[in-house]
């Protein structure tokens, strides 16, 4: 339950889904879904909001493309289940790679082709759900060999802007390097092991005046306790000033006769 409310990375349990028949997976997802909406209903304050019904979210396709000639031909990879609201979250339901696709992916990896993904541009805020879909897609890529060598374990991050528009998608594989290691086992390339997250921009900090002032006050208090520091400038250096003044007076009183002497001559 917590999994869906938090904006933290959410992994889609594709490994699990492989073991279970497909329809079971769907039910499992639905179950998660219900949990999510339950959480929201439990939220209390939001109850009765017009947007309440839409909090359950909507799904958009996640598509991928890997072609030998590098001309993008996007096919469905799965669907992203976006839960809208103040703290949007996302989960993923994705298909397995077919045998044909696996072979193609390996071939593309061999010629250092690209593995691309794309998602449509959507708006995640509840109020404007109807106009959520915009024209165009957001795309990203990794090298196909990295995809193969990491055994399809990738990290997909969806980025939103302040108002909840999806502005970018990024994909990295882990490990990210292409070392040219052969992937023998076909089974390794069957199921995606995806870590998925959605990220909103962080608030940049402003200048921290309050803390600084507090610290300053503490310091002045400390100083206040020490009477040595309290002395004024004159109180501390009176003897120097007095000495200087006497010196100046002496030198001044010595000067006039010398000047007078010059005048006479």
């Amino acid at each position: 339950m917590l999994l869906h409310v938090s904006p933290l990375p959410v992994s889609a349990f594709s490994k699990m889904a492989r073991v279970l028949p497909l329809n079971v997976a769907v039910i499992f997802m639905l179950l998660l879904f219900l949990c999510a909406s339950l959480v929201c209903c439990n939220n209390g304050r939001r109850a009765g909001d017009p947007s309440e019904t839409e909090l359950s979210g909507f799904s958009v396709p996640l598509e991928h493309s890997f072609e030998l000639d590098d001309v993008a031909k996007f096919q469905s990879r799965g669907s992203l289940l976006l839960k809208t609201g103040r703290e949007p979250s996302v989960s993923l339901l994705q298909n397995q790679l077919s045998e044909e696709d696996r072979a193609k992916l390996k071939e593309v990896a061999a010629v250092d082709g690209l593995y691309r993904i794309r998602v449509p541009r959507v708006f995640l805020q509840t109020e404007r759900q109807a106009e959520g879909q915009m024209e165009g897609y957001l795309t990203a890529f990794v090298r196909a060999c990295a995809m193969v060598e990491s055994h399809l374990s990738d990290v997909i991050t969806l980025h939103t802007d302040v108002s909840g528009f999806l502005i970018g998608v990024s994909i990295v594989t882990f490990p990210g390097a292409c070392r040219g290691t052969e992937v023998e086992d076909e089974v390794d390339l069957e199921v995606f092991n995806t870590t998925l997250s959605i990220m909103a921009p962080v608030n940049a900090p402003g200048p921290e005046t309050a803390l600084f002032l507090e610290r300053m006050e503490l310091e002045t208090e400390k100083k206040g306790k020490n009477p040595q520091e309290q002395k004024s400038f004159f109180a501390k250096y009176w003897y120097l000033i007095l000495g200087g003044a006497i010196f100046l007076m002496l030198s001044n009183s010595a000067q006039p006769p010398a000047g007078g002497g010059r005048e006479q001559s």
Binding site: L138, T157, D161, S170, V202, N203, G206
Partner: protein, 967 residues
């Protein structure tokens, strides 16, 4: 007691040690040049015979006085930029100049002797049309200002308003000109386009309308453009459709008399719009009845209006008249006429205005710069010689904004390159090696070695050694010779011939591109202009990008710079390829670019002639390379899969990444779209390609290392919200990898607004913004770290960095607005970095990056002290000793350029705006340079003493050993 206070003050002065430039260092490493901009109005100050002043008001909103003997600035007043400070009108009477400023917002009077402000008044709002001085009985006491709907008259002595009147029927009539000829009346001329002229005559005394008449003129649409007042208040207009002159008596206002030009035996050049020029020497008197009529680009005539008849005084044949101008001295008025002499020289002749006869001994022939622009305007200063004949000097203004002041019989007194007041972009290029060094290089170059045998090589080596010896002796002789002369006489004139790199590469060639399309090569040590080149086909709204394709390091190949000139509207671009040392156009023919250009990028690939490859992406996403030799194309094919680039479309908020294909087409690989209804992209900043980072990490207090995230492909994208409400506006910062399109970090600064200034370097981004909440300027710094261990320490690849970096951010208050910002740059990146901040006050602040460090601790601990971190303080304080330009104010700084020198400690800085200022900065002090007053005697005597001491002690030890052996 007084003495005591005095003493204290003295003590204070002694204690406050100023820690900046020493007095004797002023001007030693730095120079400043002040400019005024393109001249719009000029006036020779002639009230005193010996006056050496020319007053100029410019399009850069500057009012200044120049010394006519030297061309130096006597004084200068810089107003606000943009339309707010625009100088609309310039009127001069006796020793006062009256300016109308900011579309009729202000009326100012200046005393031209000292450049002081006499008075200044705010005018009523309304768009400014025209202004003139109004005289009565030969004395000028008032100034009339015409606006769209009102006319006001002010006293010249104090600016107070005498009267103000609404203009009749101002909704339909477009009032354009005001005129007075000193008879107590003010004429306001308005027009209803394609219908009639309206003339309103006001009484000077009380602003009463004396007369109001309309005269049919269906062909007229613009009075100032086609009409002048000549003689006894005769309005003369030229009609370019029927090719005729139309005369209207302003005092009688009956109707226009049309005189076809054909009846005067005149013909207009096809397609040319004829124009008129008249002259009113004294605003309290009537204008001259003589006037110029321009019939073609090289045809100007002097005509006279005599009792309603037009008399041709002189058609200046067979001269080709480019420019003509009137000038008055005393009672005499002359017409100066400029015509081309031959391909490289122009001549100016003087004619008497009332007879049209040529004056004897007044020809002036002056050479023109073949790399300059054509003459555009002629400003003539006439004066009476002792024998009562007329002498004159001229100031020629050319298309490239240069002012040239010429004296009879053709001596160029000075030239001011006012194009430099608007530098758009610049680069610093290393100077070439000296002639002898270059000769050595040439002799032992690759080609030579293959051709020649062993013997000839030996001979060559000997001969070049001889040459070097000779050069060295000559150098020594020069040193000896100069040492005998007093210091002030030793002149180190830098000319293009003796340019050579100095020991530490501190002297460089500054290649500056100005908005007028003129390129300059300036010696960075002295500020002297070594070459200039005017490109005359530059569109007015051009964007420039200057790239160094080949540096001076590849002798005998000449260095090569490429300037991309792009029309902002059409996107069409041209390339200008030139040698940055001599300014000459290169022999290499640049490719024609028929398609609009979206993006240009320099690749690190080089062709067989060591020129870096420039890729140009057109709007079909096709890529063309320059140079595009076979070698280059082959290299491109081999490396195509690793060449990525990005294109920003800020109007649609789209950032997209592309990859090059082997057939030089491209494919889109990533796309990020920022909805334009919420925010718009204002900046996309990458890192500078020539930047070096010396240390990969920072040593922490506990001796572990925090590694920096040094992604050379990182882009900082700054967005501003479209909603400008102070509660909802924000600034967005996106850090995107330019290769993969991966968003590394995104942050939002809430309640903030532009203008934003960004510096992106190493592993940090610094930006400055206006905080709408606290109403102050704030700085924010973002630093990126990989963490305690590096992912792949040998090589950085954007394609293989799965971990997101750690992001640290901190903000500070800055007590001033800023104009521009740049970071220092050094050869190896060992020296600590400073931020150079151009302030609107004209100061350039060198702020240590240490103060902008997100790791500055709130609470000081042992570890942070170990790391030398400054405890956090929310305010950045401007310390006066941080100003690198001491009292050398740089007006309107628009850009700061930094370049590394051969010394690691030294960074060369050029700040440009209205002025140009060049200096050196030492962010970590001069750790690799001995001080000027270093005691060589002491160190060498100590060394010698030590050496002898060791020798003696060695000898003694030997003797002792021997003695012991004998024992």
């Amino acid at each position: 007691m007084e003495k005591l206070i005095l003493l204290l003050l003295k003590l204070c002065i002694l204690v406050c040690v100023v820690h900046a430039v020493f007095e004797d260092q002023v001007g030693k490493f730095d120079w400043r040049q002040q400019y005024v901009g393109k001249v719009r109005f000029s006036h020779f100050d002639t009230q005193i015979q010996s006056s050496k002043k020319v007053l100029v008001a410019t399009e850069s909103n500057v009012f200044a006085a120049l010394n006519t003997r030297t061309g130096e600035l006597l004084w200068r007043h810089v107003d606000k930029t943009g339309p707010e400070g625009n100088i609309d009108a310039y009127l001069h009477y006796a020793q006062d100049t009256v300016l109308v400023v900011g579309n009729g917002r202000m009326l100012r009077s200046w005393d031209v002797n000292i450049g002081g402000l006499n008075w200044e008044i705010l005018l009523d709002s309304g768009s400014f049309q025209s202004a003139c001085l109004v005289g009565q009985q030969g004395i000028v006491k008032h100034v009339a200002v015409l606006k769209k709907t009102v006319i006001s008259v002010h006293y010249l002595s104090n600016g107070h308003q005498k009267w103000i009147e609404n203009l009749p029927e101002s909704e339909t009539v477009d009032y354009q000109t005001v005129y007075s000829d000193g008879n107590g009346q003010v004429f306001v001329l308005g027009i209803v386009p394609h219908s009639h002229i309206t003339i309103v005559v006001y009484s000077m005394e009380d602003g009463e309308i004396i007369k109001q008449v309309s005269v049919e003129a269906p062909w007229l649409s613009n009075i100032p453009g086609s009409c002048v007042v000549v003689g006894q208040g005769m309005l003369m207009c030229v009609d370019s459709t029927t090719l005729s002159l139309n005369i209207l008596d302003l005092h009688q206002q009956l109707q226009m008399t049309q005189i076809p030009l054909q009846s005067l035996g005149l013909e207009v050049d096809p397609g040319f719009h004829p124009s008129l020029v008249s002259h009113q020497p004294n605003p309290a008197q009537k204008p001259l009845s003589e006037f110029f009529l321009q019939l073609g680009p090289e045809r100007i005539l002097l005509l006279q209006l005599n009792n309603g008849q037009i008399v041709k005084l002189n058609d200046f044949k067979p001269l080709k008249v480019l420019l003509a101008s009137f000038a008055t001295t005393g009672e005499k008025t002359v017409a100066a006429v400029m015509s081309p002499k031959n391909a490289t020289a122009y001549s100016i002749n003087l004619f008497s205005a009332d007879t049209g006869r040529r004056l004897l001994d007044t020809t002036l022939i002056f050479p023109v710069d073949p790399n300059g622009g054509k003459p555009e305007r002629l400003h003539v200063q006439a004066f009476l010689k002792k024998d009562d004949s007329v002498g004159y000097r001229v100031m020629v203004q050319t298309e490239d904004h240069a002012l040239t002041f010429i004296q009879q019989p053709g001596r160029v007194m000075w030239t001011r390159e006012e194009a430099l007041s608007d530098v758009v972009t610049m680069e610093m290029v290393d100077l070439p090696l000296t002639g002898t060094q270059a000769e050595l290089e040439g002799e032992f170059g690759k080609k030579a070695a293959i051709q020649d045998g062993l013997l000839s090589m030996v001979l060559k080596r000997l001969s070049s050694q001889l040459i070097m010896l000779q050069a060295w002796i000559a150098h020594l002789w020069k040193l000896f010779y100069d040492a005998r002369k007093p210091r002030s006489q030793v002149k180190n004139e830098v000319s293009i011939e003796n340019l050579s790199r100095d020991e530490f590469n501190l002297q460089k060639m500054m290649v500056m591109v100005t908005s007028s399309g003129k390129l300059f090569g300036i010696d960075s040590k002295t500020g002297g202009i070594l070459w200039k080149h005017y490109l005359d086909n530059v569109p007015s709204n051009a964007a420039f990008k200057l790239m160094v394709q080949r540096t001076t390091a590849h002798f005998p190949h000449p260095p090569q710079c490429t300037l991309l000139i792009k029309d902002k509207d059409t996107g069409l671009a041209t390339l200008h390829v030139f040698n940055p040392i001599f300014g000459r156009r290169s022999q290499v023919t640049p490719p024609a670019l028929p398609q609009p250009i979206l993006q240009s990028l320099m690749l690190p690939l080089i062709d067989q002639d060591y020129a870096k490859v420039l890729l140009l992406v057109d709007d079909q996403y096709k890529v063309s390379a320059f140079p595009s030799t076979k070698n280059v194309l082959q290299q491109l094919q081999e490396t195509a899969s690793s060449i990525f680039f990005f294109i920003v479309d800020s109007s649609q908020g789209r950032l997209s990444g592309y990859r090059l294909r082997t057939d030089l087409s491209t494919e889109q690989v990533w796309e990020v779209a920022i909805p334009t209804e919420v925010q718009k992209i204002v900046f996309v900043k990458g890192k500078r390609p020539n930047e070096h980072v010396h240390s990969q990490g920072r040593v922490m207090g506990d001796r572990s290392v925090l590694y920096k995230y040094l992604n050379p492909n990182l882009l900082a994208v700054v967005t501003e919200s479209t909603d400008l409400h102070q509660e909802r506006s924000f600034i967005g910062i996106l850090l995107i990898d330019g290769v993969t399109g991966r968003i590394i970090h995104k942050a939002v600064q809430r309640k903030a607004r532009g203008p934003v200034h960004v510096v992106h370097s190493e592993n940090w981004v610094v930006y400055e913004y206006w905080s709408t909440k606290s109403r102050r300027n704030e700085f924010s710094v973002i630093e990126l770290y990989e963490g305690m261990e590096l992912y792949n320490s040998t090589v950085f690849s954007s394609l293989d960095r799965p971990h997101a970096p750690q992001v640290l951010q901190q903000s500070y208050i800055f007590p001033s607005f800023i104009s521009t910002m740049e970071a220092t740059l050094t050869e190896k990146g060992i020296t600590s970095r400073h931020l150079l901040i151009g302030l609107p006050s004209g100061g350039i602040l060198s702020l240590p990056k240490m103060f902008l460090d997100p790791r500055r601790p709130e609470i000081v601990s042992e570890q942070t002290r170990e790391e030398n971190l400054i405890p956090y303080a929310p305010e950045l304080i401007i310390r006066t000793e941080w100003f690198i330009n001491y009292n050398q104010t740089v007006s309107r700084v628009r850009g700061i350029y930094t370049a590394p020198s051969g010394l690691e400690s030294t960074c060369l800085v050029v700040a440009y705006g209205l002025d140009i200022y060049q200096t050196r900065v030492y962010p970590s002090k001069q750790f690799d340079v001995l001080k000027d007053d270093y005691d060589y005697m002491l160190i060498s005597s100590v060394l010698f003493a030590l050496f002898f001491a060791t020798m003696i002690s060695k000898r003694l030890a030997e003797v002792k050993l021997l003695n012991r052996a004998w024992r």
